[in-house]
């Protein structure tokens, strides 16, 4: 089975699949686990950090806004307590005070007014004509007259512009009066508008009825009720009084809300940010992680595929070599056991054959004393006895070969110049070749290394191959070419004839003991088997290539150790 066919075997296919799966599993599992855990940790800590940051921000702004409101209230309280109602009812005095406040705080204070217990603005300083304006029905007045001080929600009022007012109640002659200041919506709104983060993060303020007290970052639809207040208050609350919640807006976008109550719980400061905007860095990190996993995954898959393919190819190759070696071991074992068997048989056969030959000899001896009735009979007896003798010798020849095949003799290892051996063999065969009209040629490479092996054995091998070649060419003549050359560290000898060739079916069996195609009595089928044994013992290789009607070539490869 060659390498390619072997790899198509279902066993190797499944081995490859298993290897691929295992390599991928052991590579992907830690990759995914590590990335998953790190990403999750990062995500959690990022979330916490973001919440803490936003909470801090909202807390600071709450303090800022509350501080602003308290400061303005205190300004007005100070004024109400410092001056009498008579002083304040002086319009010029009031205008001067407004001017002083505006110098100190910019355009935060829009106007000032003094309102009597009936809700009539008796004195007014400001840009609008609101002298004697009647506020007795206004909601803020009803609340303001009941408490020492009051900060209203944002409303349009008589002037039709959003604003809110701060009032301080005082009493004069048992009658209450109110000092009122209008706070510019623009100045207040800028405090909230300062809170902007990223592309979508902004803040706004709602009162406890859900009405906007500052301008939010989105378009407010008139008449629509915004349920932020209740939803946010039902969210998670920290000990600093910061609320966290998440909600989807009308377009389905998830928003993050961080809020805190201000103005003693009347108002709520809400910070809103698009979740995808808030978590932009986290999303980036996730994208990078995904990209790294993807690239790593591709590398793992490619590596696993190549690695498993290469490893399975190696295993298949090793299996092939093992199979080949097993075959060789079996072959060697076959030869060895056959050798032992042959030795036993050879000896056992020799004795009976010796007796048979002796008996035939004895009959021949006796014939000398006999008178035969006809000469033909005597001749026939003699022919038969001669045949017995001839066949006895043949038996002896067979057993001799069997024994030389089986014998483990201590052969004499010596320095052998292979070209000399080849020339000797050619000269041995020259006579026989001449009679059969066979031409023996030689192409010998000069200066081949000297080989360390048994001279007689290599001669026996070459003679055997030559004899086979001569036998194949005996009938019609032809050429035999002996070649020698150096190939790497090996000396190669080839014996080629242009005889009838060996059929493919026989080619695989020619080194098997007792395999012969020669006529009965001509060959024992041991010659090539002995050659095979000898060359193997020398650490070499013997191989044959043959094409029917074109010829046969035997190759012998012998290891040379030049440095020995």
């Amino acid at each position: 089975m060659n390498q390619e066919n072997r790899l198509k075997d279902p066993y190797y296919k499944s081995l490859k699949r298993k290897m691929l799966f295992i390599i991928m599993a052991v590579s992907f599992a830690p990759l995914i686990m590590v990335s998953g855990i790190i990403l999750n940790q990062f995500s959690v800590s990022y979330n916490e950090k973001l919440n803490a940051h936003l909470g801090e921000l909202v807390l600071k702004h709450r303090q800022n806004i509350d501080g602003f409101l308290l400061e303005k209230l205190n300004n007005i309280r100070f004024m109400a307590k410092s001056f009498t109602v008579e002083e304040l009812n002086n319009e010029v005095f009031l205008r001067n005070n407004l001017a002083a406040l505006q110098t100190e705080y910019g355009s935060v204070f829009e106007d000032l007014g003094v309102i009597n217990e009936k809700g009539i603005q008796v004195t007014y300083a400001g840009p609008f004509k609101l002298e004697n304006a009647r506020y007795s029905d206004a909601e803020w007045f009803r609340k303001a007259i009941k408490s020492d001080y009051f900060i209203s929600d944002v409303f349009l009022g008589l002037r039709g512009i959003p604003h809110f007012i701060i009032t301080v109640r005082q009493k004069s002659n048992g009658k209450p009066w109110i000092l009122r200041a209008t706070i510019s919506f623009v100045a207040f709104n800028s405090l909230v508008e300062n809170l902007r983060i990223g592309k979508t993060g902004f803040a706004f303020i709602l009162n406890n009825k859900g009405e906007f007290q500052s301008k939010p970052g989105f378009e407010v639809v008139h008449g629509k009720s915004y349920s932020f207040y209740e939803s946010i208050k039902s969210g998670r609350k920290t000990k600093d009084g910061i609320f966290f919640s998440e909600m989807a807006d009308d377009s389905g976008k998830e928003n993050l809300y961080v809020a805190s109550l201000i103005k003693n719980g009347d108002w709520i400061l809400i910070y809103q940010q698009d979740k995808s905007d808030a978590f932009l860095d986290l999303t980036h990190a996730k994208q990078i992680a995904f990209f790294i996993i993807l690239i790593g995954g591709i590398i793992i898959v490619v590596t696993a595929f190549l690695l498993s393919k290469r490893m399975v190819a190696r295993i298949a190759q090793a299996d092939g070599e093992k199979e080949l070696m097993n075959q060789q071991v079996i072959e060697t074992g076959k030869l060895a056991s056959l050798g032992e068997l042959a030795a036993g048989i050879a000896h056992e056969i020799n004795n009976p054959v010796a007796i048979m030959v002796e008996e035939a000899g004895w009959v021949h001896d006796l014939m000398e004393d006999e008178q035969f009735s006809s000469k033909e009979n005597k001749d026939e007896f003699e022919r038969a006895l001669a045949q017995i003798k001839t066949q006895g010798k043949r038996c002896r020849e067979i057993t001799r070969k069997l024994l030389s095949f089986a014998r483990k003799t201590d052969t004499c290892i010596e320095d052998v110049r292979i070209n000399e051996v080849i020339n000797d063999v050619i000269s041995f065969c020259a006579q026989r070749a001449k009679f059969s009209n066979i031409v023996i040629k030689s192409k010998l490479q000069e200066n081949l290394p000297v080989l360390r092996l048994s001279h007689t054995e290599i001669q026996q091998v070459l003679l055997n191959l030559m004899n086979n070649a001569l036998d194949s060419l005996e009938k019609r003549g032809g050429n035999i070419t002996l070649t020698s050359w150096l190939e790497g560290d090996e000396v190669v000898i080839s014996v080629a004839d242009n005889g009838p060739g060996i059929p493919r079916a026989n080619l695989a069996r020619i080194f098997d003991p007792f395999f012969t195609t020669k006529p009965v009595g001509k060959g024992t089928g041991l010659g090539l088997s002995i050659c095979y044994g000898i060359i193997k013992k020398m650490g070499g290789e013997i191989d044959v290539r043959s094409v029917v009607d074109a010829g046969t070539t035997f190759y012998i490869r012998l290891p040379s150790r030049r440095n020995d």
């Binding site: 004795n351 010796a354 048979m356």
Partner: protein, 143 residues
């Protein structure tokens, strides 16, 4: 006087019988033994025996052991080893131990006879030399 006085030693009885007959027909005087022990006994009894044809492979005492004893106790007797191929090394070993020669089984009668003749001739030469030496000694003493 017979051509030679031979002792055939082989564990194969049919071989012994036929060989004895064939040699007898050629006017050899032959005795036969089917084991080493028997051969030694015969040699002890019959000092006329000149040549021993000894098979190498035999049960109990094999050819080489028998040869050693013969060389020690009957140094004048010549021994021809008879062997199959499997025991050719033993035969060569036998030559080193003083066997006259060795023959391969199955052997040619002519070859055997010629080897036996040579061995017998050698034995007789030896014996003559010894007798000559003894005679000389006696003559010397007399003088």
């Amino acid at each position: 006087m017979a051509i030679a006085n031979i002792l055939l030693v082989d564990d194969e009885k049919p071989f012994l019988e036929t060989m004895t007959r064939r040699l007898a027909k050629r006017e050899f005087i032959t005795a036969s033994a089917s084991s080493g022990h028997e051969a030694i006994k015969l040699l002890e009894k019959n000092d006329e025996l000149e040549v021993v044809v000894l098979d190498v492979k035999m049960p109990e005492m094999d050819g080489l052991q028998t040869l050693k004893i013969i060389r020690q106790r009957f140094p004048l007797v010549e021994v021809i080893m008879l062997t199959g191929h499997a025991t050719i090394e033993s035969a060569i070993e036998g030559m080193k131990l003083g066997a006259f020669d060795y023959l391969m089984k199955p052997c040619e009668m002519e070859e055997l006879i010629s080897k036996v003749r040579e061995a017998a001739a050698k034995k007789r030469r030896h014996k003559e030399k010894i007798i000559e030496a003894q005679l000389k000694e006696i003559t010397m003493r007399r003088i």
